[in-house]
């Protein structure tokens, strides 16, 4: 018998076969794939509802082959809360950028996490407002130039970048919070594990789960995709250390 040719890496079923609107080299695409693969692997596609943010990923509902809601800027956690509370049997995730989640949506994310809402947040930290053309985000690094801090972010004027994983980990309600990156194959593998863990915990109805993903924005960082990867590696990780900030612990006697 001849040795069969086998496809060992392919587009996940949950990711529609369409060309995205993302810029060349933008790692939003990688993160999409990891989420889609996870839904495939856990068999959750048919009972999932995603929540799209306002940001570059506003159109992500066109890419995931699941039901979707498109939220007002920053309010995805509130939509997810409302939805999941009415349908605890479904799988709900929000996909949010740093402007969306860490700026305008701060109140909603802190409270959803603190209530222990049983959905998953995929938080894309690219240190900038991508969609509106590169303004300062709460996560913009000190000294980083954007269109609204043309002289570089001055921490005396606008404070230090906000570290969402650390901040939410300070809440007492159980949850799973990890920061990952997707700029190298090894990081992508770790990111996949974290995302899969988050959805698994959700499936098992355990706790609120958030994966912060460091992501690139070559367009607004003003560099090539390759340079963007290096910039992320050299600058972002220093400020946003990778790792698990809060792990779910099974309550005793359960």
């Amino acid at each position: 018998m001849a040795v069969d040719s086998k496809t060992v890496f392919d587009r996940p079923v949950t990711l529609r076969d369409v060309v995205t609107h993302y810029c060349p080299g933008c790692t939003h695409g990688v993160i999409h794939r990891l989420v889609a693969e996870t839904l495939d692997e856990l068999g959750l596609r048919e009972r999932t509802c995603g929540v799209a943010p306002v940001g570059c990923s506003v159109l992500c509902y066109n890419y995931f082959d699941t039901d979707f809601m498109e939220a007002p800027h920053g309010r995805a956690p509130a939509l997810a809360t409302g939805f999941k509370r009415m349908r605890p049997d479904m799988i709900v995730f929000t996909y949010q950028g740093d402007g969306d989640l860490a700026s305008i949506g701060m109140g909603e994310i802190v409270h959803a996490a603190n209530r222990g809402e049983k959905f998953t947040t995929i938080f894309i930290n690219n240190a900038v407002y991508g969609m509106t053309g590169g303004q300062m985000a709460p996560t913009t690094l000190p000294g980083q130039i954007t269109t609204t801090c043309p002289a570089g972010r001055d921490v005396n004027h606008t404070g230090e970048p906000i570290r969402i994983a650390e901040l939410l980990a300070a809440l007492a309600t159980p949850g799973y919070i990890e920061r990952v990156a997707v700029h190298t194959p090894a990081h992508i593998l770790k990111a996949k594990k974290a995302i899969r863990k988050a959805f698994t915990l959700q499936r098992d109805n355990k706790c609120y789960t958030l994966v912060e993903v460091l992501s690139t924005c070559p367009t607004n960082w003003g560099n090539t995709p390759g340079e963007a990867i290096e910039w992320l590696d050299e600058n972002m990780i220093k400020y946003f250390p990778l790792g698990c900030y809060k792990d779910y612990v099974e309550p005793e006697g359960k």
């Binding site: 609107h21 993302y22 810029c23 060349p24 367009t219």
Partner: protein
């Protein structure tokens, strides 16, 4: 008696479309005309088509919505397909023949083929393709004078001498080509 002239510049983002329109608009102001520069800021997919329309007029400009400009300067194929059919009868299409390998089949408009990318390369900088087309446009229409557009290029775009020279060169090449195509005599 010319009251109002409308021209649309269209191409990929990065081809200097917006700048070309702005230079023309500045020149209009210099010559004390009424001008409006209207960009597309719609939901472009990145890498999609960008365009702007410039209106130059002797009287205050009414509608900024120009469905049918008198001229379309198109820099790539999608723009050619979209805008050439919209040109008013009796109008003009200026086509960047470096990237567009077709010509219009409309018989009611003039067409000028400008190998803008090549002209720009030859002039010394690939980025000057927009100015080459601008040169052809001004050459063909005389909407503003070359003196004015040169002054504007100098003030707004190319303060460095070397860059300026390149642009002047591209401008002139465009102009000459236009005149040749239309069989006009070169002015200024």
């Amino acid at each position: 008696m010319m009251h109002q002239y409308e021209v649309t510049f269209a191409g990929f983002g990065g081809q200097g479309i917006m700048t070309a329109g702005q230079l023309l608009a500045y020149a209009g102001i210099e010559e004390d005309k009424q001008v409006a520069w209207i960009p597309s800021y719609g939901p472009e997919m990145r890498g999609g088509t960008a365009y702007c329309t410039v209106v130059i007029s002797d009287i205050p400009i009414g509608s900024p919505i120009i469905s049918n400009p008198q001229c379309a300067c198109v820099f790539n194929r999608p723009s050619f397909d979209k805008f050439t059919p919209l040109v008013k009868a009796g109008g003009l299409a200026i086509v960047n023949s470096s990237l567009i390998d077709v010509t219009t089949d409309r018989t009611d408009i003039d067409e000028i083929l400008v190998p803008a990318n090549e002209i720009a390369m030859k002039a010394g900088n690939a980025k000057a393709a927009n100015v080459a087309v601008l040169g052809a446009f001004i050459g063909a229409t005389g909407i503003v004078s070359f003196d004015t557009i040169k002054r504007v290029i100098k003030e707004k775009m190319a303060r460095k001498k070397s860059v300026l020279e390149i642009n002047y060169h591209a401008l002139d090449e465009g102009r000459k080509l236009a005149l040749k195509t239309l069989g006009k005599k070169a002015r200024g």
